[in-house]
Amino acid sequence: MAAGVATWLPFARAAAVGWLPLAQQPLPPAPGVKASRGDEVLVVNVSGRRFETWKNTLDRYPDTLLGSSEKEFFYDADSGEYFFDRDPDMFRHVLNFYRTGRLHCPRQECIQAFDEELAFYGLVPELVGDCCLEEYRDRKKENAERLAEDEEAEQAGDGPALPAGSSLRQRLWRAFENPHTSTAALVFYYVTGFFIAVSVIANVVETIPCRGPARRPPREQPCGDRFPLAFFCMDTACVLIFTGEYLLRLFAAPSRCRFLRSVMSLIDVVAILPYYIGLFVPKNEDVSGAFVTLRVFRVFRIFKFSRHSQGLRILGYTLKSCASELGFLLFSLTMAIIIFATVMFYAEKGTNKTNFTSIPAAFWYTIVTMTTLGYGDMVPSTIAGKIFGSICSLSGVLVIALPVPVIVSNFSRIYHQNQRADKRRAQQKVRLARIRLAKSGTTNAFLQYKQNGGLEDSSSGEEQALCVRNRSAFEQQHHHLLHCLEKTTCHEFTDELTFSEALGAVSLGGRTSRSTSVSSQAVGPGSLLSSCCPRRAKRRAIRLANSTASVSRGSMQELDTLAGLRRSPAPQSRSSLNAKPHDSLDLNCDSRDFVAAIISIPTPPANTPDESQPSSPGGGGGASSNLRNSSLGTPCLLPETVKISSL
């Protein structure tokens, strides 16, 4: 359990007062806190390092912790210092802010730790000085992005956890999106991949010239014309599979409109459409030309591979995210081409038999030169042309080389992100397992404690001392809280084994215990013993309700007459129903013990709830020891509550 939660434990235990009206059995007594946790606060400033500064310096910024009266909460009267249990290195920066008015960001510290310190001392991040602001923001953004990915991966990684009762549609969609979830999905995934490959290869092979049978004159034919039937059959089979897949995806998609608009589905459509168009277009000469060009689109089938390959997807994302850089590249290239083509054209205009017949013709030369291809099919012959040609090739290198690194860095960032996501998914399982272990750990600790008979009355002091010794105060009080809840609801915590046994026993009418408890309470006011759970000898929680010495019959009647609190007698009487009908009250000492127990809890350092507490800060410890001394003389009495005859 997170150690920081220890702070809240006393509060949760105090709020257990709210259970009093409902409790069907008396609530158990609070555990005794081990005596004399002496007040051993170390007299230091910030975790041992003493900083000294003028008060005026701190008063400069009255809306922060150190500048306002809030720091009085941290004042240690004994040593006359303000004690903060925080990082001394970070505090240095905070203090420098008061001195210089500028908050600097430490380079080597984690940005989140720095943020937490700022939050603690009441400084807003806007106060970070200009010199460090850029870096602070960059690091924060990077951190936030990483954390957002974390959450996304958590939510997305819930794929394996299939919500029960999902429809066929949902299961189908999940199988499509995450092929690794079931064997059938995996098989489907590989089959479609295979057919995509087959289809693409068939397209390619179709155009290779096959040596035909000996024929006069020997004619070379592309294979496609030699074996038209075979290729047609293969094409049909592939298209059938693609169509089936597309329709299935359409059916399973949670949002069909969005699916129709997505890139992958468009690629699918473009891949299979030419075939169908070809089927329905009659084979006459006019349209067959257009039909042939349609076949070109069959090559788009290769893009279907991007579902199967993550690298392709990353490339796609990169290009999409670098759209602005690509646009700039294109624009500047176009400008340069036009400029140089014009110049070359006019430079070479004079010579006859020149290749530079027009400016658009010179475009080809410019592009080939700027990209340093240099085919050599067009070369300048005049001197001016050569000069400008060389300038053109030099500038080409520059213009192209500039935007490329941006694209490369984008690609690398996205690629690393993906790698991190994969690693995180693997770590996720480990983390979940650890959390589950911790949860069951606390449960088991409580059950163990119960089995060891730790909940017995302190009359069996010896045994209790033995098994109690190893538990920290935090654990003790937490177990007490759980015990209170058990008593409130008249059900006990148990483990899975016992639960399943009990489940079997329930069908045989094991409700006797509950019914007896119900009947016992139906026996009119003033009835006493609860039967299903053993009566507690000390019921500290009840004492909370009865803690003042004025609780007596008089106050009960006073409560009765209070208007507007219709049900107010309820809590009081409820708890007393299960008590022995004694009259005297002597509760003050115990209630103060309870308080002391609560007060001393907030003090343990947030990271070690388990070690026995040698020190607790002066306030709680001092108060508690004082109070406890006064109560030592009082013997612990049996519970006394008021007989409710007035009801």
Binding site: G18, L22, T489, R567, A570, S573, G620
Partner: protein, 187 residues
């Protein structure tokens, strides 16, 4: 010694509304920084001594540096205390019992006031606090539905593995028995 303050700083709440501007969003931490009243005032209002208040505040501040607790945090805390069951509904009701001013967040003053009532208050105050807890819509009456909700939330915290086995209508029976006893005029 230095505990006497010359000036009592009043409640200071600094709240930055998340702006639409993207740049400011980056620096945005939704800083709701709350500073409690002075030590003297709190000591006068509650039944705690100064030292106790100091101790309480230190723990509180460590947990919530911003000075307020919101309902989400509350639910998480309770989930850690009762790992077996589902403590979220009960935490919800408890949070609203604490948040007297219904602002949606619990400040240190609320925290300490409630603790003072629960630990050191008179019986009357405690009863009123408990009544406030049960009265979900704060109308001054607890009807059967409200009671059912609270009791169900409490039973939810037990979780699944209990002995004897929790039945579906266990909470309802509990409430019925309770009302049988308490409802004097049977309304």
């Amino acid at each position: 010694m230095g505990a006497v303050m010359g000036t009592f700083s009043s409640l200071q709440t600094k709240q930055r509304r998340p702006s639409k501007d993207k740049i400011e969003d980056e620096l945005e931490m939704t800083m709701v920084c709350h500073r409690p009243e002075g030590l003297e005032q709190l000591e006068a209002q509650t039944n705690f001594t100064k030292r106790e208040l100091q101790v309480l505040y230190r723990g509180f501040k460590n947990e919530c540096p911003s000075g307020v607790v919101n309902e989400e945090t509350f639910k998480q805390i309770y989930a850690q205390f009762f790992p077996h069951g589902d403590a979220s509904m009960y935490a919800h009701y408890l949070f609203h019992a604490f948040d007297i001013t219904q602002t949606g967040s619990v400040k240190f003053e609320d925290f300490v006031t409630a603790l003072s009532i629960l630990l050191r208050g008179t019986v009357h105050e405690k009863l009123r606090w408990t009544f406030n807890l049960y009265d979900i819509n704060k109308d001054g009456y607890i009807n059967k539905e409200e009671m059912m909700d609270i009791v169900k939330a409490i039973y939810d915290m037990m979780g699944k593995y209990t002995y004897p086995v929790l039945k579906e209508d266990t909470p309802r029976q509990h409430v019925d028995v309770f009302f049988q006893k308490m409802d004097k005029n049977k309304d």
